[in-house]
Amino acid sequence: MSPEPPAGGAPAPAVQLSAITKRFPGVVANSDVNITVRAGTVHALVGENGAGKSTLMKILYGMQQPDEGTIAIDGAPVAFSSPADAIRAGIGMVHQHFMLADNLTVLENVVLGSEPRKGVGLDFAAARAKITEISTAYGLGVDPDRLVDDLGVGERQRVEILKVLYRGARTLILDEPTAVLVPQEVDELFGNLRDLKAEGLTILFISHKLDEVLSVADDITVIRRGTTVASVSPEGVTARKLAELMVGSALPVPELRESTVTDATVLSVEGLTVLSADGRTVLDNVSFTIHAGEVLGIAGVEGNGQAELVEALMGIRSCSAGRITLSGQDITRATTRHRREAGIGYIPEDRHRQGLLLEAPLWENRILGHQTSAPNVRGPLLDRKGAKRDTERIVDEYDVRTPGIGVNASALSGGNQQKLIVGREMSGSPVLLIASHPTRGVDVGAQAAIWEHIRRARAEQLAVLLISADLDELIGMSDTLSVILRGRLVADHDPAAVTPEQLGSAMTGAGRED
């Protein structure tokens, strides 16, 4: 399946994974995975969420050990029992969720684990010199003495890359590196990657964004349901073909059908301003309106006030100025409880943090957030029967795959957890749904189902505030689009006319002149 190595005196593959299998209690994460990465190339590993890419990379990086199969680096077989082994073999990993300690400086973060020494002490001068040297050589622009807490997303990613280079890695694994970047930053990153390749480094690039993969990769391996299904070269394949390889069928497309927008204002926000605890303005004079049957999408680079907006609307965070009106009722000072009772459904950005009690059964999770309304309670008492019956209904209607409603939420897959949350938040006939990254980290099946539920609710006059980092989802699912930048709504776009590139410029502020 793998591309034939070039004939005659070609170097051994930088990385060769053969017949890797990894099992977890009750599940098989990887089975019979085969990948060959040529030295000095950018090799992309594509697959949808939950296909087993991350587990595979953890195996390659020594964080997990395979049950079967072999790993060979530069032709020599290896066995990694910890990341330290992998690092020693010249493998470095840039994690999707940055592995940085906020309270430590860039220097401390970079040298951690392979510190230059002077006697028993740490040789700060040598460390500083080496970091500055690498930073200059690859144009990373990193200041070793700043606290990581003070850095932005792009800078943090460059610190992560620097960490890997500092350890002399010859093979870099990048796990979904573009997930947190805007298109312009992605271009910069790809520029960096080409520089690295030119220096002879090998890059293993994990993604599910196919256009990016096609533009940067020399080879592509597709992984589906824990196993490698194809190895292709970007010249001989289209995005559509790749997608089909990835999911085994056509990808679902986010789209709305005919407009259902009415004149009835459901949510009206005027001049909303929110300050952070240390007095910075994180949301600045934000105003918008959502009508019944309308989906308002908010595009923006993460950390530009989306989380604060959602929390202010939910009453989790207090606002310093402005007015929030729901169906004509002023709820600016209302409690979260009151807002929920007034008909706001909430799909949080991080379901494990805000959406679920992982160590409680599904039916108790049904009560969560709706603990003042039927069928969950009668007066101050819980209605256990009612809650259980309604949980059965949600499991049924929303196709939550579970052996029963008595299992803990932690036992379900991400997609099923999310479907349970969607079902819960749609019950009790809400008037407004706040959906924050509703399909993040779920499989395509669940993704399509969630889009369909939002479409159906919209047709029944639900107003929806949709926040997402997936620009295709935003463009496809919104009636109206606004861009948020540094806490302000800076531009409105017609989702029917806008392209992801235009949105991207607006998100970084580059398009503000127009």
């Binding site: 977890f24 209690p25 009750g26 599940v27 098989v28 994460a29 969420n49 939950g50 296909a51 087993g52 991350s54 587990t55 953890k58 997990q64 349901r225 824990g226 939910m314 989790i316 409690t335 979260t336 409880r337 009151h338 807002r339 929920r340 009772e341 909430y346 949080p348 494990h352 943090r353 805000q354 959406g355 679920l356 009690l357 992982l358 160590e359 409680a360 059964p361 108790e364 009560i367 969560l368 957030g369 709706h370 603990q371 003042t372 101050p380 008492l381 819980l382 256990r384 795959r401 579970t402 052996p403 008595g406 299992v407 803990n408 932690s410 036992a411 379900l412 897959s413 991400g414 980290g441």
Partner: protein, 372 residues
């Protein structure tokens, strides 16, 4: 709230029983190593167990321990660590004893006197705990630290108030000082038990009522649900509309109020005065019992009885020449090993459940989901 299958019951009992056996083993080894006979020790305790007096005393101790455990458990359910039950009950017992012993109380009907005493104890306990709650919700001060500090401050405050110049009087013929003795109208009569001169505390009924109310509120009411939800995930509770600040204040006040009850059985059923020799340290026993009983109303009752028995059997050990402190070691080992055992059982359960779900649905799962 799980379905009671034989398997789940067995799993539930595995941890505490395992811990008991482990603790007994450790103590046996320690005894043998220090030249005491483990067999004699068991024999002495078994003999003690047959004396009605020991049993009555054990039940009385258990009554007090149970109240302390419930006080602690209210906070534990929402991951609020009220380490301060100790200071709360001592201050409450002291002040309510001073009130109950005051001369003007003699004119009140007995029921009212007792009710008033108990109410004041609850108020004082709640008030002292309320200070920690206030610091927590307004300033984010960890209740662990603040209640530890408040325990110490309560100690000094009690010794300040327990002075003949203030709320105490010297007991004739001894160098003990205490509050004025509560006259008969303010006492709670006990229950006679044949073969024992000591009576079972009348306020054992109060402990039973507290236990039932605790069970009902926690498993059947909205408030109980929100308490549990906050304990499982504070951020999810907030997003669900729970005001965590309000919950902290309410549960801390409730915990303090129940802590105020801890001294009552002893005060109104046996000593009738708060003096220098009033039993100290009950708050920490409460923590141990709550841990052993897993905050479960029935589990804590069993744990309290065990603790009470161990304490009272310790007296019998002295007679047989074994240092009674072996019981303290045993109790310490039980607590430490039971928390470890509960954690192991919990992990086993999570794995078993994920395996079961995986099997039932026959699908693959990513590592993120497995480790979540």
């Amino acid at each position: 709230m799980r379905n009671l299958t034989p398997r789940s019951v067995l799993l539930g009992l595995a941890a505490p029983l395992g811990a008991l056996v482990f603790a007994a083993l450790v103590c046996g080894i320690i005894l043998a190593a220090t030249g005491n006979s483990p067999i004699d020790t068991v024999d002495a305790m078994a003999t003690a167990a047959q004396r009605p007096r020991t049993l009555v005393n054990s039940v009385n101790s258990a009554t007090v321990y149970y109240l302390a455990a419930v006080a602690v458990a209210i906070g534990f359910r929402m991951k609020l660590f009220n380490i301060g039950v100790d200071g709360q009950y001592r201050l409450a017992a002291m002040l309510s004893a001073a009130l109950a012993g005051a001369a003007f109380m003699d004119n009140l009907p007995s029921f009212l006197r007792i009710a008033l005493t108990i109410a004041v104890a609850m108020l004082v306990g709640a008030g002292w705990a309320g200070l920690a709650a206030l610091l927590k919700v307004t300033r984010g001060v960890s209740e662990v630290i603040s209640t530890i500090m408040l325990n110490a401050i309560a100690t000094y405050l009690v010794s300040y108030l327990l002075n003949p110049a203030r709320l105490a009087e010297t007991t004739a013929g001894s160098n003990n000082i205490g509050t004025a003795k509560i006259t008969e109208g303010g006492q709670v009569p006990g229950f006679e038990v044949s073969g024992s001169t000591t009576k079972v505390f009348g306020l054992i009924l109060l402990a039973a009522i507290v236990g039932v109310v605790y069970w009902f509120v926690l498993s059947r009411t909205k408030f109980g649900f929100e308490l549990k939800a906050t304990g499982l995930s504070e951020s999810a509770a907030v997003a669900s509309g729970v005001s965590v600040k309000k919950m902290v204040v309410i549960s801390m006040l409730l915990s303090g109020a129940v802590a105020g009850l801890v001294g009552m059985p002893q005060l109104l059923g046996a000593s009738y005065t708060y003096s220098l020799d009033f039993p100290p340290g009950l708050g920490f026993v409460g923590i141990a019992v709550a841990l052993l009983g897993r905050n479960n109303p029935v589990g804590m009752a069993v744990a309290a009885l065990l603790w009470g028995f161990l304490d009272n059997a310790a007296n019998a050990l002295d007679i047989s020449g074994v240092p009674r402190e072996i019981v303290l070691i045993m109790q310490g080992v039980i607590v430490l090993s039971v928390v470890v055992a509960y954690e192991l059982v919990r992990r086993y359960r999570v794995r078993a459940e994920q395996q079961a779900v995986g099997k039932a649905l026959g699908r693959t799962k990513t590592l993120e989901e497995v480790s979540a």
